[in-house]
Amino acid sequence: MTYSVVKGSGYVLVNTPDMILHNGTTQTTEKTINPNSDYLKELPKHIRSFEEVVNYPPNQTYIGNLTPEELKEYKKPWYDKKFEGADKVGKFGEIMHQNEFIGLMKIVDTFDLVKLEKNFTEDVKEKLSAHHFMKEDLISRLKSGDEIESIKKSVEEQGAEGLYNNGELVGCVKRAHDIDINLSAHILFENLVVKASGVLAALNLIEKNNINPEDIEYIIECSEEACGDMNQRGGGNFAKSIGEMAGFVNATGSDTRGFCAAPTHAMIEAAALVEAGIFKNVVVVAGGSTAKLGMNGKDHIKKGLPILEDVVGGFALLIGENDGVNPVLRTDLVGRHTVGTGSSPQAVIGSLVTEPLDKGNLKITDIDRYSVEMQNPDITKPAGAGDVPKSNYKMIGALGVMRKELERTQLNDFIEKHGMEGWAPTQGHIPSGVPYVGFAREDILNGKIKNTMIVGKGSLFLGRMTNLFDGVSIVIEKNPGKIDEEKGVSEEEIRSFVAEAMRDFASHLLKE
């Protein structure tokens, strides 16, 4: 049995300025309790343009145009910095404009729930036709559009959720049932956003890595939404619905949930399925969340910053059979926070970082790069949540000091050498461990690093079912190049060859 490998990745961001105001929960809550608040009046002045979003160094890092090392060169804060040479198309994916994305929501809608205005539809059709890889069979699903009057009526009288672009109503998501709250327009809107951004990530994975979509055999979707009706709220299956749009005709799939830790759970599951020989190619995919748009907006505005949570994120990874080249997923070096682990920070970090290292007789300093919760500090620091990756690196380093694997005075060096700046948007599962997998694959292939540990953590208390914390981790390392040990000659076989030769020799001697 040999390890599975990371064959490719796709990373996407969608700039959704109108959805900040209409669908971000900080803003919708404010509209309910304090509709005339200064915050809501001030907010439109703090929205960034698409160009500003594209030029923003952390966003360029997310799609692969700027490496984590290059991002480090930019002095913080980053919101007033610009990456010269920024492009909406990146090495790993793309940053999509809101109008194209609204079109994509219509494209991935299989129940005629999304209505788009006629002229807007024509405009989007033109834009998507100019997109660098969007195929005609998907674009044609936009159809011809609807009259604005019928859309207005749906929003005003029939509980539909409006779709806005530049402050203008351009379409809506209709409810799918009169009384079932799980099929309300609000839920369907969020689910179609997660599906559309997941599809975009999956399409980029295929496009950027020259993958045949027919080779995919299984899909694990790991976002934070739930789809189903009133009889099975989280029935699923986002995975298969994304696979349908991405052309994974030979795949089935399922949804894995675990808050922010879900992507790392999903990677481990994918690695296990491939390693066990059940499926050859497994895609791990997730779309993003509109609810979290502008989540820390009040703090950002109070401090005179733009609204920095203005993108929906998505990613897709392909875990496949060992090809002797791509980095391997060390399923024997997996960490997990168990029910009995406890919640103190050192118990948490110990279970996720040092326990798997102990299994491989490794020290904390033997891992070249740790990928933790890679939240962009530009977003979290003004909101009083500090620099999340840095705090994680400090904790890992401090544990190293307690284990006497490094001196206390070496803590800052450790963070500098084994850590990275965070670049991912605060979209829950999106920043958690996985943002570095694309770079890790390259860095390992180029020999820049030999290994990395991907750590995913999740706050389960938010669901009110348990107060337990959660997390899992896995080590990815350089492929030693041996593909199939079973085909080689085993030690036992060599022994029997030697024994046979000795017997021959002995009998030969006796004859003489």
Binding site: P345, Q346, G386, K394, M395, A398, L399, M402
Partner: protein, 107 residues
């Protein structure tokens, strides 16, 4: 918000003089905010403690007043690592300032 409710209920049930609030915020600013909430009232005026001056005794777990009360082995096991990670002096200063200003009980 729910935590504010729980603190308020505990103060009502057991009496403010019998309640000590322990906080574990990782940032001085956030710790100060939590301390202010249970003494002078919710400064953001968003939760149940808005305008409610409970004046409770409040300590951060890295403060000596708490640390000295705890078995050193247990403290080391549970908090030792975080003590190395957090800006302890800044947190203590922030929380102590709030306590000196708003706590109603002088020990």
């Amino acid at each position: 918000m729910e935590n504010q409710n729980r603190v308020k209920e505990a103060a009502e049930k057991y009496g403010a003089e019998n309640v000590v609030v322990l906080i574990g915020g990782a940032e001085a600013e956030a710790a100060g905010l939590a301390a202010e909430t249970v003494t002078a009232g919710d400064p953001t005026f968003a939760g149940p403690l808005a305008g409610v001056q409970l004046g409770l005794r409040v300590y951060h777990v890295v403060e000596p007043e708490f640390k000295n009360e705890v078995d050193p082995d247990v403290y080391d096991e549970q908090i030792g690592m975080m003590e190395m990670v957090l800006d302890v002096d800044e947190i203590i200063e922030e929380v102590k300032d709030i306590r000196d200003e708003y706590c109603k009980f002088n020990d």
